[in-house]
């Protein structure tokens, strides 16, 4: 890759997804883009970037940006957060809203581990007297497809997932494991770029956005956060990853990762 190639990828990642990509990290860029080049039939990463530049190929540009976004994930990452959702937050909402609907959204669901952790926990103990709707979205088309298929490698099902849950919710499939249709069908999917207008998505009681904010440029982070804030229903909570924060919102006491509008957080405490 030439310096110009690397600059172009960094610029595209910033413009399209708000992602902070350091053009000096040659190795990282090569590493992430090589599989894209291979899949798309290019002899090298340089050829891929040349095609993006010269043909102004929008689809290829997106594939490159998607490949530059972070992938780190696991089932039941920050287990306390999931315990809170299932044993405190949802029963609480259910009590205050009998017969109603509770809407949850995994806003950067990656390969689906996060939202399926929620769905599995819900299928084990769902709050009585309410309908829970579970939505999941991601920027990356390929990751969404993987998530929807619900197929995981032996390595993936051993990170954060208990053996009891593995035998309860999964079946063997070829070299890997597939999640039961019952759990998969609890989730509705959509491709969403968090940089875009999110108001069309409606309002949610709980929005999980973990492992993304730290990878965004400062402006992008502010924009994504204010977009997410506006999708929160009254009393709704934004759930962030460990060490992440939202300037406009206050952390909720004793609920790791949970953030709410200042007044609402106080009222609930």
């Amino acid at each position: 890759m030439t310096p110009q190639d690397r600059e172009l990828i960094a610029r595209l990642s910033a413009e399209r997804a708000g992602l902070r990509v350091d053009p000096d990290k040659t190795y990282l860029l090569e590493n992430r883009l090589a599989p894209v080049a291979r899949r798309e039939g290019f002899a090298s990463v340089h050829d891929l970037v040349a095609a993006i530049r010269d043909r102004d190929d929008d689809r290829l540009a997106w594939r490159a940006v998607e490949a530059m976004s972070p992938t780190e994930t696991a089932f039941f990452r920050e287990p306390r957060t999931f315990e809170c959702v299932v044993s405190e937050v949802l029963p609480d909402l259910a009590m205050r809203r009998p017969g109603g609907t509770i809407r949850l959204w995994s806003a950067a669901c990656g390969g689906g581990q996060e939202v399926y952790s929620l769905a599995m926990a819900l299928s084990e103990s769902s709050p009585p007297g309410v309908t829970v709707e579970v939505f999941a979205s991601d920027l990356c088309e390929r990751r969404l497809e993987k998530a929807q298929a619900g197929v995981y490698s032996q390595f993936e099902v051993q990170r954060g997932l208990s053996a009891r849950r593995l035998v309860t919710h999964f079946e063997s499939l070829d070299d890997g494991f597939v999640l039961s249709p019952r759990v998969r069908q609890m989730v509705r999917w959509r491709r969403v770029n968090l940089m875009e207008d999110l108001s069309r998505l409606g309002q949610f009681d709980l929005v999980l956005c973990r492992g993304v904010l730290g990878h965004l440029l400062e402006d992008a982070r502010a924009r994504v956060l204010s977009g997410l804030e506006r999708t929160l229903a009254p009393g709704g909570r934004l759930v962030l990853g460990a060490g992440e924060s939202a300037p406009g919102l206050s952390p909720v006491a004793d609920r790791p990762g949970f953030h709410g509008r200042a007044s609402a957080a106080r009222a609930a405490a």
Partner: protein
């Protein structure tokens, strides 16, 4: 979080709340696997003991109950499942958190290990992340 106990130093001082180093027993008939497991467990601050089959493992447990057992399934003399069933009948034998660690990845086998009293199950090959994740789920890390 380490369990604590009071110990007497050589000079007679009583030291309170010294974290006790946890003991992990690796039972596997492959020396290579035991070595890999030992390195991972030592990085997680365990003291490590090794046994080459279930019978040897059981003898170990009768001298000192470990906090965690990493247990292979198929071994000569006494296999992992028989070890587990016997361990759970020993006095104090329900205390160790037992994590199966086997090439068996058939879910029915995993299920029978759990039903026999295993706390967690690792399908080989494993790495440090998987061992840490499973020991955490088993409640011993």
């Amino acid at each position: 979080m380490h369990p604590s106990l009071t110990i007497r130093r050589e000079n007679g001082d009583m030291v309170k709340d010294m974290p006790r180093v946890k003991l992990a027993l690796v039972i596997d008939d492959s020396r290579v696997v035991r070595k890999v497991a030992r390195r991972i467990l030592e990085d997680l601050d365990f003291e490590v003991a090794e046994a080459g089959d279930g019978a040897e493992g059981l003898a170990w447990c009768r001298t000192e109950m470990p906090d965690a057992v990493l247990l292979d399934w198929n071994m000569p003399v006494m296999d992992g499942l028989e070890f587990l069933q016997r361990l759970r009948q020993e006095p104090g034998g329900d205390a160790p958190r037992v994590v199966f660690c086997s090439v068996e990845n058939d879910l029915d086998r995993v299920r029978s290990a759990l039903d026999a009293g295993a706390d967690e199950y690792i399908m080989k090959p494993f790495d440090g992340d998987i061992v840490a994740s499973k020991l955490t789920l088993a409640g011993v890390l």
